[in-house]
């Protein structure tokens, strides 16, 4: 066989490339360093450094009259954070984030379930893009659309009125705590928009988790005598849980930090994001804003730790 007849020696690979390559082969650590140093400089130094700088600022205080920041370390700002009005904000935000998360799961699950376990071929693609497109389309546009929908003179009102159900809406809006003059100035309105805007973040991880559940597990459950309902409770839900947790990282985190939605739709009551934004931007009280910012960091930090243990991390 002519091609294989003689075994020639390899051509020597000289030059800078060859020598660099030899070095990397002999010292894999150098290769790793080359790969890691730039991103670590960026994320580890710039980003983490900034987070640290923020943390530092929360130990500064502000001169209440002139608004000038006093850079001597103090816990005064944290004392301020614990004032009832601010605790209200934290509590209100966490409650909203939790409610939004629960509602997102409820709305997302059927969509994710159908897309993962029933849709095939074209329908699957349709569902996938059907979730992706709203996920990626402009956040502001979506919020804005809801302003139009929820306004007193907007579509929801129009819809209820033209169906002759105006009274129902009014009765709902009269409920204290969740109602208001119109949906757009009620906590319910804020809640609906949050759910809407973060919904795709919940659908996709649940769908991914459900897709990893082999059909055979569902069949095995039926084979062992479980009705479809029992199969859902004992097999599908537990296996979808990591996806749910991954999704809730987003819904929770995004709700904790958002300041645009409560500003445009809601009762003017502050949420953490809005408080951070206003203390920092409007009031120039950077130390208090920083202290407020520590709240979501702590909440999300613990959340991530739990999520990691539940194996939800790969689903991010």
């Amino acid at each position: 066989m002519s091609v294989l007849a003689d075994s020639g020696p390899r051509p020597a690979r000289e030059g800078v490339g060859g020598r660099l390559s030899d070095l990397l082969w002999r010292r894999p650590g150098v290769l790793l360093a080359l790969l890691l140093v730039p991103p670590l400089l960026w994320l580890g130094v710039v980003y983490l450094g900034s987070l640290f700088a923020l943390l530092l600022q929360s130990f500064f205080s502000i001169d209440e009259f002139s608004g000038v920041i006093d850079r001597t370390p103090t816990l005064k700002t944290y004392g301020e954070l614990l004032r009832p009005a601010n605790l209200d904000i934290i509590w209100r935000t966490v409650l909203m984030a939790a409610a939004v998360t629960v509602a997102s799961v409820a709305v997302a699950f059927p969509i994710a379930y159908y897309a993962a376990r029933h849709a095939r071929g074209r329908w699957k693609a349709l569902f996938y893009l059907g979730v992706m497109l709203p996920l990626w389309s402009s956040y502001l546009v979506k919020v804005y659309a809801w302003k139009l929908i929820l306004a007193k003179e907007g579509i929801v009102g129009w819809g209820f009125d033209s169906l002759g159900l105006g009274r129902v809406l009014e009765a709902f809006l009269a409920v204290p705590g969740i109602g208001g003059n119109s949906l757009s100035v009620s906590p319910t309105g804020t809640f609906i928009v949050f759910v809407y805007v973060w919904l795709p973040f919940m659908i996709l991880p649940i769908q991914a988790a459900l897709e990893r559940v082999p059909d055979s597990l569902v069949e095995a459950s039926g084979d062992l005598g479980a009705t479809p309902g029992q199969t859902f409770r004992h097999v599908i839900w537990p296996l979808a849980l990591p996806g749910v947790v991954a999704g809730s990282i987003f819904t929770f985190s995004l709700t904790l930090g958002d300041y645009i939605i409560p500003q445009i739709i809601g009762t003017s009551a502050r949420f953490i994001g809005l408080a951070v934004y206003q203390y920092q931007g409007t009031a120039g009280n950077v130390p208090l804003a920083a202290a407020f910012a520590v709240v979501p960091i702590v909440i999300m930090g613990s959340y991530l730790a739990v999520a990691k243990r539940l194996g939800a991390f790969d689903a991010l």
Partner: protein
């Protein structure tokens, strides 16, 4: 006695694909029944029809004499061991095994006891606390078995349960399964595409091809007296002789099978048939030679036969001309197709 499983003209078509096509079949109670066939021949679909994961497009399936049309899987006294075991990854071994009992509402203490009993029977005592991911393939297989058997099904379905195991473990599990079936005495329906597995384990074997059953019979029948070329070819090992070659060997001019171990080597002088050794494959216990019969063979048939030389006998080197001897009754003529 009513059959445990009986198919009457059962078909399952998927669009134009005839996965199962007019199958008639009776599996007796207590039988170890194997379904053997190449990939895509409809074995799994048959099993899924019995379990209730599929509904026939035509025909009728009975379990113990009762028509089970329209009965969902969770209302059939049948359990399945899945090819990938389908163990619930979020439950530990004990909860996996107890799953069916939990669903059936058996009280916690009792189902624990029974699940542990099933695990001991499978030689897995003390493994209850592990997660399936912490088990080896063979252990998983045994958990899947325990999970199915603890429900005391009347029929156990097994879809290539040994396919994922490596050779050693596979042989060991074959023995265990066989022993187990004797012990529990219920009907096992076993799907495989490995003819060795089917032959060594089953009481009866059904050979599938393209959604139809080609032959049903004992392993010896299927191996030694294949009804069709397909069966002879697939069950394997055998030389399938072209009618012309069969005639050379003294048979009727029809397709025939002749087992390699039935051929004996001798000196070429005076032999009825001679040939040249073209390849040798050392198998340890024996060596399998390929002997080319040369000019004597008809143009459209294979002109070589395999000969098995038992270990300890001398093995001629490739290129050697040898003579062949055999007993007339070893030649088995079969239905043409």
């Amino acid at each position: 006695m009513t059959a445990a499983v009986s198919f009457r003209g059962v078909s399952r078509h998927f669009g134009t694909v005839k996965a199962v096509d007019g199958v008639d079949l009776d599996i007796a109670e207590g039988e170890f029944f194997a379904m053997l066939g190449p990939s895509g021949s409809g074995k799994t679909t048959c099993l899924r029809l019995i379990a209730g994961f599929e509904t026939p497009t035509a025909g009728r399936i009975e379990l113990f004499g009762e028509d089970v049309s329209g009965r969902p899987p969770y209302r059939r006294a049948v359990n399945t061991v899945f090819q990938d075991y389908a163990l619930f990854p979020h439950l530990n071994v004990l909860d996996n095994v107890a799953y069916g009992l939990m669903i059936a509402g058996v009280p916690k203490a009792e189902r624990r006891r029974r699940a542990e009993e099933a695990l001991s029977m499978m030689a897995l005592p003390g493994y209850g606390g592990r997660k399936p991911s912490e088990l080896s393939g063979g252990q998983r297989q045994r958990v899947a078995l325990a999970r199915a058997l603890v429900n005391r099904p009347r029929v156990l379905l097994l879809d290539e349960p040994l396919g994922a195991l490596d050779l050693k473990l596979r042989e060991q599990m074959q023995d265990e399964l066989k022993t187990l079936q004797r012990k529990v005495g219920i009907t096992f329906v076993f799907v495989t595409h490995d003819q060795g597995e089917a032959l060594s384990m089953a009481d009866r074997v059904a050979v599938f091809n393209e959604g139809r059953i080609q032959q049903v019979g004992s392993p010896e029948e299927v191996y030694a007296r294949p009804r069709t070329r397909f069966v002879a070819d697939f069950v394997g090992g055998s030389n399938v002789l072209h009618p012309g070659v069969a005639a050379l060997f003294g048979g009727r001019p029809a397709w025939a099978s002749l087992r390699p171990e039935a051929l004996r080597l001798g000196p070429p002088e005076g032999a009825r048939i001679t040939g040249v050794v073209t390849a040798a494959r050392y198998l340890g216990a024996a060596t399998r030679l390929v002997v080319d019969l040369g000019a004597g063979a008809p143009p459209d048939g294979r002109s070589d036969v395999a000969v098995l030389v038992p270990g300890g006998h001398p093995v001629p080197a490739p290129g050697t001309r040898v003579g062949l001897a055999w007993d007339a009754e070893a030649l088995h003529p079969m239905a043409t197709e």
